[in-house]
């Protein structure tokens, strides 16, 4: 079944949890015992309504403080598709969580409180969805019931958001505006009876009509080798398969390929998925590829089509989102993990810190603090085979790993 991954960001106040709860409830995805548990917890806290955030905020600290700290994953499905929501907190001190949630998502839902309109938090959510190039953005203008389902309120907010959208560097991004009331269930799953002036899709209709090909952009064929499969049994004595996942594009039997970094060329002899052979496999497939020639290939090497080579470089410029409490500083060393490649790197410069509200950038003073985003230059011990993030997401992003603590300290998007 098709899987669609959605990112939501926001605080309890804009009704994000209510919206998610409504999606689950109206698609019959909440079981009786879960509803019962939410009821009990809501009562215990003295609420006279069902607080759906209690279903999504899984940690004790989150429930105590009534906030979302971490990324939570929520699942629901229709007869058509499986959905995974990465639910993240919306405040500036959780930028890293928003970036994390957005990195695995194809669609973003940005919530706006109809009474408040476009606020600072809206800027930040949109900025992150822009930076990470989320192809489809739903702007859900919520709490329409509290403004009398007034069309002019909706149109005003839409216009303000359009102004924000002019700052976007991502022209192919599809932005749609949907007036909703999560509390009353208007335009979430069911069409609203209160807003005859809105002829468009409900949120669920919009999601149901999206297909993977609408939201994926990796065009070049990339195959990063995870491990080499050599069974050494009698039956498969000479079997030497390269196991990995196709990141973008597709590979066919007979394709002329180049192996990086050796730059050796060969042809694809066969493509296996488990014990079956296929003529072609597309992006997202975890396959095993056999080549016509005996070439020495190991984990971290990459197979590409010979007519679309990636860049092979030791010097990188990247937009980095910093995720560690220890500052990123010029001169520091970090591991770069890029696909299945892991290379030591040195930070040669931190050019600036970029404001997450589209207001521009400022001097970085040679450091990036937790939750800051900036332009960074790195020198690698060995070259990596990459594309820009704009042209190929999965081959244009990397993580930075702290040499001493092993923490995932940051994420980079290659420029």
């Amino acid at each position: 079944m098709e899987v669609l991954k959605i990112a939501t960001a926001g605080s309890v106040d804009d009704g994000k949890s209510t919206l998610i709860g409504r999606l689950l409830y109206d698609t019959n995805s909440l079981t009786d015992d879960k509803i019962e548990a939410i009821k009990n917890s809501s009562q215990k806290r003295g609420y006279d309504y069902l607080d759906f955030s209690l279903a999504t905020d899984g940690l004790v600290a989150e429930r105590e403080q009534g906030i979302t700290i971490d990324v939570a994953h929520i699942y629901f499905s229709t007869s058509n598709k499986s959905y995974i929501i990465a639910d993240t907190p919306g405040h500036v001190e959780y930028t890293r969580n928003m970036v994390t949630g957005a990195s695995t998502s194809q669609v973003a839902i940005i919530l706006i409180d109809a009474r408040k309109g476009v606020i600072e938090q809206t800027y930040r959510h949109f900025f992150i969805n822009n930076l990470l190039r989320i192809k489809d953005v739903i702007v859900a203008i919520n709490k329409m019931d509290l403004v009398g389902y007034d069309q002019s309120v909706f149109e005003d907010i839409k216009q303000n958001f359009e102004k924000l959208n002019k700052n976007s560097t991502y022209s192919e991004q599809n932005v749609s505006y949907i007036p909703v009331s999560a509390l009353k269930g208007d335009n979430i799953v069911e069409k609203s009876n209160e807003m005859a002036w809105y002829q468009g899709e409900t949120i669920l209709q919009h999601l149901e009509n999206l297909h993977t090909e609408d939201v994926s952009e990796e065009r070049q064929s990339r195959f990063s080798v995870q491990t080499v499969i050599r069974p050494k049994t009698d039956e498969f004595h000479d079997f030497r398969g390269f196991a990995g996942k196709i990141n973008g594009g597709s590979f066919r039997v007979g394709d002329e390929i180049t192996v990086l970094p050796s730059m050796t060329t060969s042809m694809i002899k066969s493509i296996y998925f488990y014990d079956k052979m296929f003529q072609e496999a597309k992006a997202g497939s975890s396959v095993t590829i056999l080549l016509e020639d005996e070439i020495n290939i190991a984990r971290g090497d990459m197979l590409v089509k010979s007519d679309e080579l990636p860049k092979v470089e030791k010097d990188l410029t990247a937009t980095v989102c910093w995720m560690d409490s220890k500052h990123l500083k010029s001169g520091a060393k970090y591991w770069v993990q890029h696909n299945t490649n892991k290379v030591l790197s040195k930070i040669t410069a931190i050019d600036n810190v970029i404001a997450t509200d589209f207001s521009g950038s400022k001097e970085a003073n040679n450091k990036l603090a937790l939750n800051e985003i900036g332009e960074v230059k790195l020198k690698l011990a060995k070259p990596i085979f990459h594309d820009t993030y704009v042209s190929n997401k999965s081959n244009g992003a990397f993580i930075l790993i702290d040499e001493h603590t092993n923490a995932t300290a940051g994420v980079g998007f290659i420029n």
């Binding site: 009786d32 499905s77 994390t100 003529q279 997401k393």
Partner: protein
């Protein structure tokens, strides 16, 4: 069991079409391969339940035609359903896998843990000690498990690669962010990583996969007649002595099946006529009760799972 063998030894038929992508399956295979490449001594935690059986199938797919490159570890509480143990041994035998079994009873005999008593006595918590001892004994650095994020709210916060310290503890507030599909398995000596390849699967996804792949699972998942009794609105097995039953709790034969397979002492049955995988899938599709609704171990408190996980439970 024929189905498992049939796939492994199948003659390869040349197919002309394009491979259709099942995203969840491909993600799981990708994770298995990352484990094999990033760790020295991985192990697959095998409970005999449907999720761990699904893991075995996915691991077969990840490494075919090579064998699964790590052993299975079963922490035997001594309270397992006999059907599960019988199934486990058959599976391991037919696939030629290496199985390691460690017993909670041994931890009790060694005085490391104390058996619970009373109406709700269970060995569920005790198995954490046995598991941590086994990890230390074999120096496992990656333990692959079948936990899913949709099962329980604390598990919804779990990473795919989840780092545990020397004491097996989960620091839930200080987890590594996981971006895109990049998995950071870098650890210190003595630490280990819990790996969850089917994190993003739901119960229905697992069952649909079992149906599509025709994977054999233990008989207790299907409707059968069983002597049972009622307690707290749940149906308990009365034909095994490990489940405590008070005199006033009357035994009655019911047609039931189990939706999850934990210990007999903490897993309740559900009334059901679903005696085939097709019927089970149909039943789950319309079910109004969640899978762990029949797990008494989660009902001890609102944060029961989070607390157990902090201590090293799966």
């Amino acid at each position: 069991m024929e189905t498992l063998l049939k796939d492994i030894g199948a003659t390869i038929n040349q197919e002309t079409q394009t491979l259709q992508v099942n995203e969840l399956e491909n993600e799981a295979i990708y994770i298995f391969r990352e484990v094999a490449a990033q760790f020295e001594r991985p192990v697959l935690l095998f409970s005999g339940g449907k999720d761990s059986i699904t893991l075995v199938r996915l691991a077969q797919k990840a490494f075919w035609p090579a064998k699964i490159p790590f052993p299975l570890l079963h922490i035997d509480t001594g309270h397992n359903f006999p059907e599960t143990i019988e199934f486990r041994d058959r599976l391991v035998d037919e696939l030629g896998l290496e199985l390691i079994v460690r017993h909670v009873q041994d931890s009790i005999n060694q005085g490391k843990v104390v058996e619970e008593t009373g109406k709700y006595a269970s060995r569920n918590i005790l198995q954490t000690t046995t598991l941590l001892d086994a990890i230390e004994e074999f120096k496992f650095d990656a333990c692959i498990g079948g936990a899913r994020r949709d099962e329980e709210k604390a598990r919804a916060k779990e990473r795919i690669f989840s780092v545990r310290d020397d004491f097996g503890q989960w620091d839930e507030k200080n987890q590594r962010p996981e971006l895109f599909d990049m998995l950071n398995g870098t650890i210190e000596l003595g630490q280990n990583v819990r790996v969850f390849p089917i994190s993003n699967w739901t119960e229905l996804d697992v069952w649909s996969y079992i149906l599509k792949e025709q994977i054999e699972i233990p008989s207790i998942y299907f409707a059968h007649k069983r002597h049972t009794f009622l307690r707290d609105g749940l149906i308990w097995s009365a034909q095994d002595e490990v489940v405590f039953r008070a005199k006033e709790e009357a035994v009655k034969e019911r047609t039931v099946r189990f939706r999850t397979v934990g210990d007999m002492s903490c897993t309740a049955a559900v009334e059901s006529d679903a005696d085939t995988i097709e019927k089970v899938v149909a039943e789950i599709r319309i079910s109004k009760i969640s899978e762990r609704g029949a797990r008494i171990d989660d009902k001890r408190s609102e944060a029961a799972m989070e607390k157990r996980k902090q201590q090293g439970y799966f």
